[in-house]
């Protein structure tokens, strides 16, 4: 499965977060992540999407790319399409802080791409057999 890429494009709406969650869990499952790690990956993907779509100005679509690597999974969550108008600010309240904190904690690496005050993409990595 090494070097395989799985990609999923969704409308930027709460109802589709479950689709990304289940698809990511299925990939993680085939990669021999253990049950707890699969839960982590599922949750990380969901929290990343929530951060992107819950901005005042949010993207039209969410693109999820899963890269199967020899030692782990690399995940990119990208906002795409026209960003709906609104204040150009990443609303940073307790809710988003909690999401970002969970994300950083359960993944081995997390990187946020913030451009002109908007969160544009999240890059994550988790090792198979890590903690």
């Amino acid at each position: 499965m090494n070097n395989d890429i799985i990609s999923l494009k969704l409308p930027s709406k709460p109802e589709y977060v479950m689709v990304a969650r289940l698809a990511s869990a299925a990939v993680a499952n085939r990669m021999n992540f253990d049950i707890d790690q699969i839960e982590d990956i599922k949750m990380a993907v969901a929290e990343a999407i929530i951060l992107l779509i819950n901005q005042i100005s949010n993207p039209e679509q969410i693109l999820i790319k899963l890269f199967v690597e020899s030692k782990g999974i690399r995940i990119e969550i990208l906002g795409e399409g026209l960003w709906k108008d609104g204040d150009l600010s990443l609303e940073d309240n307790n809710q988003t802080k909690m999401g970002r904190y969970i994300l950083s904690y359960i993944m081995d690496k997390t990187e946020f791409n913030i451009d002109k005050g908007l969160l544009r993409a999240i890059y994550m990595y988790k090792e198979v057999g890590g903690q």
Binding site: V17, M18, R21, M43, A46, I50, Q95
Partner: protein
Amino acid sequence: MDIKEKYMEDTKTWHVLIIGEVDVYNAPELKKKFHDLAEQHRGDFVLDCADLTYIDSTGLGVLISLLKKVKEYDGSIEINNLKPFIHKIFVITGLDKIFTIGVQEA
């Protein structure tokens, strides 16, 4: 997500069974439900999470919002039977310190 609730007159307590997945899609519905119950009877809440299989940060936000609500009338919230991998999220976020929590045997 499915919710089953029952008000215990003797102990003035809402017993609420939360079944399935609480996520960004259905969290608003859960929030409304909780607030409606707290309006109906200003009771304590006992949440049975034996069949709660997933909760994201928006779901946790709903619990915090309910806590603020019940604090207004000095009520309390008890969260029981959390699955270990969900309990982990409560620990990571420090919410295990502001709620009374019970965890399922592994």
